[in-house]
Subunit: 393 residues, 2 copies
């Protein structure tokens, strides 16, 4: 006999999913209607418009892919890359490596530009790679590396790529809604994101946006897109401007209700206000963490406000701390990934999780458990430092 | 200013999504937790066990793909097919054509075995195709054609495929939970389904199951799976039996709560009871439709209980009828697809939609609108015929 599942109520301060506010959960649970229902089609149009706002773009092809961020990444690569193409992939964390996998599985060549994990992508290395490989078609990089908390200079990288006649694919899974991102102004050609980070929606959808140049490439491919499910030539028949929507696949109806609601919330707050809130709360968390004696992995200039990777006090078993935070305080923070596994914690302040009460809970719970375990931290310093930082406008 | 979206409350009697019961919508809206949370991992194990029950299989690789049924189809093909392979694809409706697309986009050859839309797959044609193509690797076919309502003989087709050393890929999107389906007993090698049909869960997930023979093929491929997102060699690191779950992608946490709940409901009802309920209600709907004067597309022996394709009375604009059902009675029924577009309606009795009250609403609403439009139907005959059929055990 299996019972219904009733999860504990957690506070989510890992690398995503972030806390989903009750308003979005309520939207998620509204009655399911058909994926071709005129009411649903109207809502799809609103989702497109709201996503254009969130991405700061006029791109007509701005839609949520009906699957998680990894599928959004794959949607960009599978539509734009053909066998034999050359793609410069910048790697400064886990997700650049995943881009490489995408490129190579399509029979294309990935030219890797590697930086230390925790550093921003080095534009001079990319410039060199472009000089060395004049037949490059695409430059792909991560705006906000979720595995390290480093932010890269999207505009500079796009300018560089365009100077060499390349288009860009940008991973904005962790940046969308949480820190400055301007698709049109920065000249991004194709971009993908996720719903479970700074939009504070449930995981499972991946917003993407393609500009006209990218759409032309998709329309003029020599070969069919290997994925039928992700082929944008077909997907646009369902999501396109055409009044008559052609059935492609059954859209995840309720998940789209939730995305719609999360975007309405973002619109009401205002994108720039959301960016400011993420920054403000990051500075407060940072003040507390540094007062406690923890150090950031990423240098100040490249640091993302929504994903804070910090070092672990010497001699502390980081997994034990995370387990105790979860078991004793229902608080989730993230472990390190890849080469940072076991070496850092990743503390997320994304979307609805970016709130003063979450900062206080996180720091007081960390202080309680680390001091209980005899770790070398400054007890009593974090909370006043947070308040002082929050007082600053 | 965009407002929150509040859909009308519809009765869903199309080809899916079906009515999602409040119990599943409530599960969907439970608080989001992390995709690596120990509580979530435990729930994932329960989902696997419950899916094994629904599929009637002991296959260890029995999991929901984190995307709609089309992605489940693609998951089967992309993992099992390599460039140069030969695949026999049986087409007797829309979805066989989609299988063909999947095969060809992978650089493999699709040998088509075609039957009239509305008929079952003809096993003798498949036998001939196997004789003509002794180097065939896979036989792929649809168990329950959602576009026509025809059911094919899975066991006979699997036996035939195995006699020729082939494995099988079976589309069970519309059959799972609604009509007899026995993965192990029938010898199905790989199968995919959807959540929004006879499980009455929200759309967006695709349960799949692979037996050991199929898993061996995936493990021993000559080339990497072209899709990173759907590569089961990687997905199994997250969903596998291993206690330490490796992060692959962020699972659609809340959608999985809903799937879990829908499978608990199925288990409590009992799989065979669910099959019987679908059959019983189908016979009642059929009695009403035939009393009214509408005819079934599919011959009685091959007819699915959960998807009823019926002809449209002469001179009636079928789209107007569907629009009026939706606008006046909040009732959705399905249009014809492909070669049956404009010629049939598809009336679904799937999962929670397979209830006496839905049958009465559908027939009385059809009678009201068709008689109002002056169509040539028998007025007053349908409702008593339904009651009589429901009285029979």
């Amino acid at each position: 006999m299996t019972n219904s599942f009733n999860p504990s109520v957690r506070t989510l301060m890992g690398p995503g999913p972030s806390d989903v506010p009750p308003r979005i959960l309520s939207a998620l649970a509204r009655p399911t209607i058909g994926h071709l229902d005129p009411e649903f089609v109207k809502m799809m149009d609103e989702v497109k418009g709201l996503l254009q706002y969130a991405f700061q773009t006029k791109n007509e092809l701005t839609i949520p892919v009906s699957a998680p961020g990894s599928a959004g990444m794959e949607c960009c690569f599978v539509n734009l890359v053909e066998a034999g193409d050359k793609v410069i992939v910048c790697q400064n964390g886990v997700f650049g490596g995943r881009m490489k996998e995408n490129v190579e599985r399509l029979g294309a060549t990935a030219i890797m530009v590697e930086d230390e994990w925790g550093q921003a992508v080095d534009t001079s290395k990319v410039a060199q790679a472009l000089k060395n490989n004049p037949d490059t078609k695409i430059v792909a990089f991560v705006h906000a590396e979720t595995s390290t908390g480093a932010s890269s200079d999207v505009k500079a990288l796009c300018d560089l790529a365009h100077q060499h006649g390349c288009i860009t694919i940008v991973d904005a899974v962790t940046s969308l809604g949480g820190s400055e991102l301007k698709v049109d102004e920065w000249g991004i050609d194709a971009i993908y994101s996720g719903t479970q980070k700074c939009l504070s929606c449930v995981p499972g959808l991946s917003p993407v946006s393609f500009n006209d140049k990218a759409v032309e490439i998709v329309k003029n491919r020599k070969t069919k897109v290997t994925s039928w499910f992700l082929d944008l030539n077909l997907v646009m028949g369902y999501w396109g401007a055409n009044a008559k929507r052609a059935y492609h696949h059954t859209a995840p109806v309720n998940a789209l209700y939730a995305l719609h609601e999360s975007l309405v919330i973002l619109k009401n707050e205002g994108l720039e206000n959301s960016w400011k809130r993420h920054k403000h709360n990051h500075l407060a968390l940072r003040a507390g963490l540094e007062a406690m004696g923890l150090e950031f992995v990423v240098t100040e200039n490249d640091r993302l406000p929504q994903l804070n990777a910090v070092t672990i006090p010497e001699g502390v078993d980081e997994a034990v701390v995370r387990a105790r935070l979860l078991n004793e305080y229902n608080l989730e923070i993230g472990a390190g990934l890849g080469s940072l596994a076991g070496k850092v914690w990743r503390i997320g302040l994304m979307g609805h999780s970016s709130r003063g009460e979450n900062i206080l809970l996180c720091l007081s719970a960390l202080e309680a458990i680390l001091s209980d375990m005899g770790a070398n931290i400054n007890v009593g310093a974090a909370i006043p430092a947070v308040q002082k930082a929050l007082n600053q406008s």
